[in-house]
Symmetry: C2
Subunit: 279 residues, 2 copies
């Protein structure tokens, strides 16, 4: 792997470039993005140069698509005739089944490997890039079959940047993240909207650190989420329905004046189990 | 103010003792708590001695009730005959109307001032006490009428420990925290329960930092929450109903494939406004 093309030099794309450099990658890192993102990516050292999509795709051994899901789908549809046979195309999109299906349609077999780094932060853009963003974080890979030599080489780079690589089918990934990522996002947004709608200025005077935790995800970019939601609708609706049933059960207990400590204990146990694996 | 009695030497009670010391309080700080909590409180320097409830109440100028709400209600019912006329009784309970009403029944007029420090952390107990816990955090006071001289003296100590004092009626406090504290708590718990119930071991492999944020509150103590919920039931059910309506509206949009970016923007704006006041 000597030349990498990063499509979408935002927080994730630029952090991947910085992480590669930190892990010893000395080849070219070509950025394909808006002029502002290119400038920021060059400034932080995440990319070494810029290029138009066609030129970048024809040169790269690895094409890293770090755009919003809808943009990844559009880019995939144009890449087919451009990539050379040894090139691996991968992506960092938050849903995987729709992307895998589109890649299968436009790219030759074995040219594509779906990926999803479970990392992020409040700030957006290459200015906030961090070469340690993927360290100790899960990085899901969703191959269609066995990992080929070039896929194994990419996986080795993921190990070198400190990721915990998890391999699973694309549809299983989408079912899992509906619960572990998309549901939390929607609850944070719906809760923030609920508080905003009350228009009560006292809310801004009387809150603790817990409300900051619970509203952090609500600061995510709407542009990114629109296409995550549309490409994982079925699984997300299912996760929402499970949540609603549990919230109804909790509400019914409160209304009846019944104990809820078993629910608190179950929630506590799950939250603690997440922290045991988060190292 | 020369002698303080802290009833309940847990995270909040012990942090209050440490904060007083840090702010220059040189008087006695008597702990009234279980033997384990007394030992921990003495070890971290949050209290200077221990006493039985009666002896502590008869000696103190300030009685600081940092117990769970149900315990505060029970303590208030026994304090009446014990406290001397110059003593101020205050509390750190998370709901205020039920406590104010019980205090009014058992204590002479002007002897009680309700309070609620909007501070906390994951860890529990005096071992986790922190003299800076209240710094830059709201500390709500819910007086029945004008602040008397001894109440103003207590408020001055709150300023000295770095709190932002907010004054409002007890019932308004309870309405506000139903949205800013109790709703977030219940959503974190219900979400953790939802994920736990799926019994999917992949959830522990595939999650990002957002899930840690959204499950932090779920680690709160069930014993503390049981009585918060029962003493603020009406306001909490109302906040839950507002939330459910917003979640239904969001779900309906997703099902219809409609845009949700205006909701994301509204949630983002509210989350950002919280961060502007959180200094």
């Amino acid at each position: 792997m000597e030349t990498v093309a990063v499509f979408g030099v935002g927080l994730i794309g630029a952090s991947f470039g910085l992480a590669l450099r930190k892990a010893g990658f000395t080849g070219r890192i070509i950025g394909v993005s808006s002029p502002g993102a290119i400038q920021a990516g060059l400034a932080v050292g995440a990319i070494s140069e810029e290029a138009a999509p066609e030129a970048a795709a024809q040169t790269a051994d690895l094409i890293y698509l770090a755009q919003p899901v809808d943009r990844i789908l559009k880019t995939l549809a144009t890449l087919g005739p451009l990539v050379h046979p040894e090139c691996l195309v991968t992506d960092a999109g938050s849903t995987k089944a729709a992307i895998a299906s589109t890649a299968g349609k436009y790219l030759p077999p074995g040219a594509f490997l779906g990926g999803h780094p479970m990392a992020g932060k409040e700030q957006r853009g290459a200015e906030a890039a961090d070469g340690s963003l993927f360290r100790n974080r899960p990085y899901v890979l969703t191959p269609c079959g066995e990992l080929t030599a070039k896929m194994l080489e990419f996986r080795d780079w993921l190990h070198r940047i400190g990721s915990r690589v998890v391999v699973m089918p694309a549809d299983e990934h989408d079912r899992v993240v509906a619960f572990t990522s998309h549901l939390p996002q929607l609850l944070s947004t719906a809760m923030s909207v609920t508080l905003a709608k009350q228009g009560n200025s006292r809310f801004l005077e009387v809150f603790g650190p817990g409300l900051l935790d619970m509203t952090r995800l609500a600061m995510s970019s709407p542009e990114v989420w629109e296409s995550i939601l549309s490409t994982n609708k079925k699984e997300i609706i299912s996760a929402l329905n499970h949540f609603k049933a549990n919230l109804e059960a909790l509400t019914a207990r409160l209304e009846a004046g019944a104990e809820v400590s078993d629910l608190f204990s179950a929630g506590d146990r799950f939250a603690a189990s997440l922290r045991e694996v988060d190292y």
